[in-house]
Subunit: 642 residues, 2 copies
């Protein structure tokens, strides 16, 4: 059961992160990734794959001569960068950056056609082919991303130039597609999210209805893309229009039971579905979201919140098919899972959504970025074996080290916009309740209160909320308590309170008339946990993984040099201890040591009857997100368990 | 060190198999596979992929109108069938079959061009393109197979019509290629084997020199195929002429250190190299063969004698990269490994060659054929999980059940010619010694003796040789003793003899003046053996496999229904017992039972902190070659080991 959304929108500048863990990452994004990406978009980094994305806009705007270059969705790189810049400006003003962003927006405005159409690929290269190939050509996808950027830029800077551009584009799309007009659905879902964001900032109902149309129309005619393909005599990528699972158009969104197809397309669609369900109080649509949520999180998700296990087409495969080494688990897909989780929380503040969101934040998303912010993974494996991973058929996409940038540069800018808008994911506020979804140090300027959070998370189980009420009326504060927490102490103004009866679906609810500086202090044990996978997971049977707090841990060769990782196993009684890493790029993080065994063959033979020797060893694990920061080496999350 | 070959050639009709294990298989081949394949070649099996191979010959012969159909190497299917028929006729005369084979040969003769050229693809379809695309077009490959058939048919029936055809083709090739003539090497090695067989039956030195030329020329100019491709404006498959590892033309045969590229091409080449080395007493070439032998058998071979681990291009990959589920291990490659092993034995009767030959005969080759002879595997995995294997990217080629026939029908006819000529692999005879390479019940009519072998192998360790000498002079009998045998009793005419000092490099040598009915009786223990893989094998660490005698065993789901196979492990003290299977298609075989554990999660969750329960179970294993004969189910050779 869900309720119609009553959230007050929290503006990006309301939340100021001040947190040991997240501030470092946000600073990295601001100081390294955003400027680096700006250079990329301007083709100023020698030796790196040319982007040409801004040049495409200048050419479309008539400011420059030249040819379009890049992927058909190259425009979206600019959109994602602008969105990230907007969120960054909200919490960290930077006049020079804003000035440069404004200039990019001016160019975008000039690249818009008189009829509102905006897409540099078609404007420059194939103007006669506009809207003929929704299956492959990403016009709606690019529009959706630019709408998100426009809404964010407006929210964060108050400037509406890009917003006006994208309203004109939305109007253009609205004139073309919809009931009684041309039938259309996007080949890559994203326009729905963009339109809903436009709706959130403008209140324009037509955008809501158009988003609804794209969702409701999808799968009504499973032959849509086949018929579209039959109407034209050209293709772009040569995609198979019959593969309606790939883009989730095989049935209506209400009838889809399993998470299938391209994982990013899928979670972007589910995100929009959940958003719309909440806005409309559409219980049927919310139930469809719940079914798909369960499909992912109960049967198709890695321990790291990675999703999409197929090395081909970045797709979901089957229930319980979660290979560690053949994996895809695209960074963008875990980011999309966070979008989805947040919208589900808005429908129903249930800890199971917050648990998955936290899992994704601390593991499968930030693992995509090197600790220095300069290299990025698309694929986030749970097992890597250099010499095999990245080289052998079936594993070529699984790289042991993050590369610098990609031709198809979706993941790095997606991480930027996620991490700069972290505050958005931490809170919701309804007329009677403030929800805190995840522990993170910060100052939150909410409607009903200013709340200062201090947190040692994820390294220690200690967090405090200091609440300065802005109202004399009682209201609730609901704090998500991660489901792994077994023992917890809650103090309200230093007095221990009984938390048990205040817990509901993973949230600790405290209701009172709040004062000037009421302090909620939560402390909890954060033992090393051993996790076992469902026996249906072929790769993980007989193995265990380590977690502590929200962090999944992994074993890297560099820390375990007694033997190759496959020779190691964890002891039945692992005698786990934690330690502070003091050197190298992981300095300051908490590592884990456990007892283990190492197998040794005395014989060098390929096969032998000689029983391997067993030696006692102490194994070392590090947080998964920090893997592959110390050179190429073996890694695995799941370790054989004695 | 090797010696120049002094073998007397053993004619196919000298060896008559009478063996519980092999006679069943030979009968199956004769009664089911050969007639089935004949129907296939004649396109008489409805619903099965059309072969058209004989039609191609009739069209090329001008006996029929029509177009060529099939792979560019379709002719080789007819060749392999004829070769199998020849061997079958040698030990089991069948006038009607021979009559039909004779008619096929007549058609082949008519399909030959006036200049000796024989290849239906080019004769029918692209006569102007003859010999322009050695890289892709298999003209030399098809010729090689037809030469093998011609030699076999002549040896087995005394009829030389096909032999004359193939001499003319060999002469045609000899006029075209060689020193001072056109430079050429085959894109798929096989012509070398064929020419050496022609040499063996005709004594024509030009064929020996031409085989030598093709081997010696290979890799001298690693750009050969690139230059060839540059000379023409067409391709057939679109193969990359730069990929000189794929076809082992990257360096001379002397300089190749690792087994690389397409595994069948590789072992066919090594076979010819070893054959030539023996004929010429070429120590340098033999040493090259030894290096490649070690590369395969010490670093790149599955326990089943499967080789070629890449699911793409049927290739070798890297040392110790032997994944069980992504495997290729083509039936033909293991057959080629037998060809290679036999030639190595002819150079140097060393038990390590006979061990691998035996391993391949009892495991990775015959696993390719269903027990009823009606279905065939190309790919012989060591782990199969229905629903995943055969369906998921990277594993699509790994089928859980044998299909009926293939478009590219190389493996089934290759099995036919191997199994009908089993006698060839069992013996060698030199002026002073008779070598028995593998235990099998039979009557062998050799130069120096008639030997009757009775054998309970591979089910029991009991074999006897009854020797009826044909000479008054002393000679040696060398009997290969598989290296796994630890305890053995040898009796000569019922008296126990000390075998220890009579063993040399895996052969038991008995020298004497043999009488009318001297009996050598060898009995040995055949315990269940646990095999451990080198720790570098990623998939097998912490696991063990079971063998008994020459047989690798595997676990199938149907026998172990307490849990999915990944949940099972073998006990540290497995308490192994053997039992006779009494029902179903495996009736008569010996199974193995061992103690094991099964893990159970009480929780249905994807991940849980709950330690899985452990139950004692009894596990059942069956001979690997007999897997997938009782419906689709899980299978694995390597079992987790407590």
């Amino acid at each position: 059961m869900m309720n119609k959304k009553k959230n007050r929108s929290i503006a990006p500048d309301q939340i100021l992160i001040e947190d040991d863990f997240w501030s470092r990452i946000q600073t990295l994004v601001r100081e390294i990734v955003i400027p680096y990406q700006e250079k990329i978009l301007n083709d100023e980094i020698p030796g790196v794959e040319k982007s040409h994305a801004l040049a495409n806009f200048r050419i479309a705007a008539g400011l420059e001569e030249g040819e379009f270059y890049g992927m058909v969705f190259q425009d979206s790189d600019v959109a994602k960068w602008l969105e990230g810049v907007a969120y960054s400006l909200a919490v960290h003003p930077d006049a020079a950056l804003e000035e440069r962003a404004d200039r990019v927006i001016e160019i975008i405005e000039k690249a818009q056609c008189d009829d509102g159409y905006l897409n540099t690929y078609f404007t420059v290269k194939e103007p006669e082919h506009r809207w003929q190939n929704l299956l492959e050509c990403h016009e709606l996808y690019c529009a959706g991303h630019m709408m998100e950027a426009a809404a964010a830029y407006y929210e964060c800077t108050g400037k509406d130039r890009l917003l006006q551009v994208m309203r004109r584009m939305a109007d253009h799309i609205d004139r073309r597609f919809g009931p009684g007009k041309e039938t259309g659905i996007p080949g890559h879902q994203e326009i729905e999210i963009g339109l809903l964001k436009l709706y959130h900032v403008t209140g324009e109902e037509r955008y809501l209805r158009l988003a609804e149309y794209f969702l409701e129309e999808r799968g009504k005619n499973p032959d849509f893309f086949r018929e579209e393909a039959a109407r034209r005599d050209w293709t772009h990528f040569g995609m198979d229009p019959e593969d309606t699972y790939y883009n989730q158009s095989y049935d209506t969104v209400y009838n889809q039971k399993d998470a299938v197809g391209h994982s990013v397309r899928a979670v972007y669609m589910y995100t929009a579905m959940a958003d719309l369900a909440g806005i409309q109080g559409n219980e049927k649509l919310y139930q469809a979201c719940c079914t798909l949520w369960d499909s992912i999180t109960q049967k198709r998700m890695y321990l790291t919140a990675g999703i999409g296990s197929s090395g081909q087409q970045e797709c979901f495969t089957k229930d319980y098919d979660l290979p560690n080494d053949r994996i895809y688990a695209e960074t963008c897909a875990s980011i999309g899972l966070i979008f989805y989780a947040k919208r589900m929380l808005e429908c129903d503040p249930d800890g199971r959504y917050a648990d998955v969101m936290e899992r994704a934040f601390f593991n499968g998303t930030i693992s995509g970025m090197q600790l220095d912010g300069r290299r990025f993974f698309y694929v986030n494996p749970l097992e890597v074996n250099p010499g095999i991973s990245g080289e052998i058929f079936g594993l070529r996409h699984v790289l042991p080290q993050r590369p610098e940038w990609y031709t198809c540069a979706c993941c790095p800018p997606n991480l930027v916009r996620l991490l700069t808008s972290l505050g958005h994911y931490l809170w919701d506020e309804t007329p009677d309740t403030i929800y805190s979804h995840m522990f993170a140090g910060q100052e939150a300027e909410l409607e009903k209160a200013r709340i200062k959070v201090k947190s040692l998370y994820p390294w220690e189980g200690a967090v405090s909320y200091t609440v300065q009420a802005k109202t004399q009326q009682a209201f609730r504060i609901g704090i998500h308590i991660p489901s792994y927490i077994r023992r917890m102490e809650v103090r309200l103004n230093r007095e221990v309170i009984d938390a048990e009866d205040k817990l509901d679906k993973g949230y600790l609810y405290l209701k009172r008339i709040w004062g000037e500086a009421d302090e909620i202090r939560i402390t909890f044990a954060m033992p090393v946990r051993r996790i076992y996978a469902n026996q249906k997971l072929l790769d993980d049977a007989g193995k265990a993984a380590l977690m502590r707090g929200p962090l999944v841990y992994c074993f890297e060769g560099v820390d375990n040099q007694d033997a190759s990782l496959q020779s190691l196993s964890m002891a039945r009684e692992p005698n786990a201890e934690i330690y502070r890493i003091t050197e190298g790029p992981l300095a300051g993080m908490t590592g884990i040591r456990v007892d283990g065994k190492a197998l040794y063959n005395r014989s060098e033979a390929l096969y032998t009857e000689e029983t391997p020797e067993v030696k006692d060893v102490r194994l070392t694990a590090i947080p998964y997100f920090a893997w592959s920061n110390r050179g190429e080496n073996q890694m695995r999350v799941w370790m054989r368990q004695e």
